[in-house]
Every structure is written in C-alpha cells, then in structure tokens.
Symmetry: C2
Subunit: 200 residues, 2 copies
DNA sequence: CCGGTTACAATGCACTCGCATGGTAAAACG
DNA sequence: CGTTTTACCATGCGAGTGCATTGTAACCGG
C-alpha cells in the first residue's frame, strides 16, 4: 500500500464538504464534482472513498449526527435538571452561525428522509433510532425534577419530553426563515420551561 | 385566441402533478418532463404556462397552501375554543393519507425554503407571511378561553400559541417517519391541551 | 528486486436536465 | 377575408449528472 492514509479522516473531510455544499446550495447542489471541488480533492478520490453518491450522503448524515452529539455533550456542565434540559434544547436551535448551519443541513436531510427511495429509508432509520434516546434523556431529567419537587408529580414525564422536543424542533424552521430572532427563541423556551417547572 | 381555456385551472392541474411527484420522489424528482407526464400533458404545454421551473414550484407551494387552508376552513364547525384549537392542529398533522400527503409535500418545500437561492427566499417569504395569522388565530382562541375561565389568566396567549404551533410542527416529522402512530400523535395533542386548559 | 495491492487521477459514456427555437392550428378582430 | 394573437407541440442544444474504465505512481511483503 502506498501513502499511509487515515481512511476515516478522509471520509469525514469529504462529509464536511458535503455539509458546506448543502448549507450553501441545498441537496440538489451536491454533485460528486462539486463535492470534490469543495473538499479540494479530485473527483476520482471521492469515488475512491465512496462507492456511490448515496453512500456518501449517508455518511454525511451520520457525521452530522455525531458532530451535533459531540457539541451537545461538550456543553458546559449543568447541575440542575432544568439547566440540563435548557442547554440541551438550546444546542439544537439555530441561535448562532454554527447551530444555524447544522439546522439547515439537518433540515435538508430530514426532507430527504421523508421520500420513498432506498436512501430515504436509511436516512429515516438513522433519524428514528436517535429519537428514543433523546426522549428518554429528557424524560429522565423531568423525573429527576419531579422527585426534587420542582415539577408536579401528576405530569407525565414521557409526554412532557415529547412535547418539549417537538416544540424545540418546531421552532427550528420559523427561526431559520427569520420569523423569530434568537432572543425570541430563547424567551419561548424559557417560557415553556417556566410553565413546566411550576411550584407543586 | 383559440380554445377558450381556463388559465388558472391548467396551472392548478399542473401544480397538483408537481405535488404528486414531490410526494413520490421528492423535490429532485420534479423535472419538467416528469411533471408533464404526470399531468398527462406535453412538456411544451408546461412551458407555456410557466416561464421557468421556479415559477412552477412557487405556484405549486401557493396551491398547496390554499389547499390546506380550504381543508382546515372546511373542518366541522366547533363551538368551544378548545375544540377549534384541537381540530385546527389535527388538520395539520399527518394522521391519514391525505394529511400525510400534504405534510410530505410541505416538508419538501420547507427544506427548499431554507437554502439561499432566489427561489428559496420567495418560498420562505410565502411561509413567513402565513405564520402571523395562524399564531394570531391560536392566540385569539386562547384569549377567548381565558375570558371564559377555562385557561388561567396568567398565561401569555401569544407564547402559548407559539408553543402550541411549534409543538404541532415538531410532531410532523417524527410522525412521518413512523416514530409516532396517529393515535399517539392525537394523545400528545390532547395531553398538551389538557395541561393548557387547566382549571383556574 | 519484484509482483501485488493500494491510492488515487483522468477521461469517457450514456443519460437527464432546463430552456430556446420553430412550427402549426385555431379563434378573435379589423 | 386576412391578419394577428393565442395555444400549444416537437425538437434540439449545451450543460451537467453519476458512474465505469483505464492508467499510474507509490509502497509493502516475499
């Protein structure tokens, strides 16, 4: 073998070029040639690391997922359940350029995952598998707050987690198209949390 | 002029073919040739009614909007604010084939509106203009329920409307990819409304 | 030192795309 | 009646697509 190369690093490098292209021109703007150009490599190299375009897109989604996960996990440590929930949610919302970038790319994949072709079902599968963990995390925090007496015990943790997450997801697009300014988004989140964390 | 033709009817006919194509193959699957074939007309005719593809997509989105608006408006009359809110929300969620169809097509447009090309800003503009009216309607219902003593007066109607609508929008995609069954979606909505319509 | 495998690069191919062009038929209008 | 305008249809063009093919250089194991 020539040149000892880090396979995964190359693939990540290309995946990030895909992200940038999706952000700039949407899913349609992603062609093998454009990706190669954006990544600063030859088209043959892209083909060398990905057998098909679909395989490339799939890894691009996986990489986006891990990217976001890492960032969320790296959020400053929080002690209270409420702070954990708050920062966890805010990390998913397009409040700065970085999160805006991720939200846009994620939205593109989401739309693609709704269609009915082989790639779409793979994408949908990826998105689905992550959901239960996120919901479980939220529900756990809610339960913890309940035992601490910060959230009324009569509330259903899983339903509240469902609502909380759906609410956050539902804020993404209006925020992206500029209907809500970042501080309005934060205000809505805090308002919701205020109502959730009601004195018993 | 030959053949007296209903211009708008033709355009709507083509727009519906676009919807069907987006539902089946996504935005990428929409080409002038495919649209013509799906609509059962010649490609020249599509070009006759739409100068560019973007213009066609734009009208397709407008037509989808009016389609949904008409359906929502035609929902069985409700007397109480709560029933109004409930049916209004459920009409937007993919609970049957028809609404599923609309949700998928709408998602495709949403993703497209997030990109940064000329068409995208038009799409985003269209989506944005509708939002304040929807939120105002929700807020009005909430206010009405407050004066009727069904919702605590301390709650902020606009914030609650924001949360309610974002929550509904956020349920669309998990429901589309099959994470929630239709009855689970309804249960989540009712749970949320239960919590909103708390005895004062 | 030498076959063999790996890591690319360059090119070509069949196809599809949006759109422009040119033509034809029909109806309104003077 | 003839002219003009409308409503198409068929075809073609240049660009771009994903992917297959072929070539080449580098490095390792024997």
């Amino acid at each position: 073998m020539p040149k000892i190369v880090d396979h995964e690093a190359r693939r990540r490098h290309i995946a990030e070029a895909v992200h940038r292209l999706i952000d700039a021109k949407g899913m349609d703007g992603v062609s093998l040639r454009e990706v190669a150009s954006e990544a600063g490599v030859s088209m043959g190299m892209v083909q060398h690391y990905f057998a098909t375009k679909d395989e490339m897109l799939l890894l691009a989604l996986q990489h986006l997922n891990t990217r976001i996960s890492i960032r969320v996990a790296a959020a400053p440590d929080q002690d209270s359940p409420r702070a954990l929930l708050r920062t966890g949610i805010l990390e998913l919302l397009p409040l700065d350029d970085n999160r805006r970038f991720e939200a846009r790319v994620g939205t593109a994949f989401l739309a693609r995952s709704v269609v009915l072709d082989p790639l779409a079902s793979l994408l949908a599968g990826l998105l689905r598998t992550g959901l239960p963990y996120v919901l479980a995390f939220y529900a756990d925090q809610i339960r913890a707050a309940q035992t601490a007496g910060q959230i009324p015990a009569r509330l259903d943790p899983l339903q509240e987690a469902t609502i909380l997450f759906a609410f956050a997801q539902g804020m993404v697009n209006p925020a992206l198209i500029g209907h809500y300014a970042p501080d309005e988004v934060v205000a809505a989140v805090d308002y919701h949390l205020d109502r959730l964390f009601a004195p018993v």
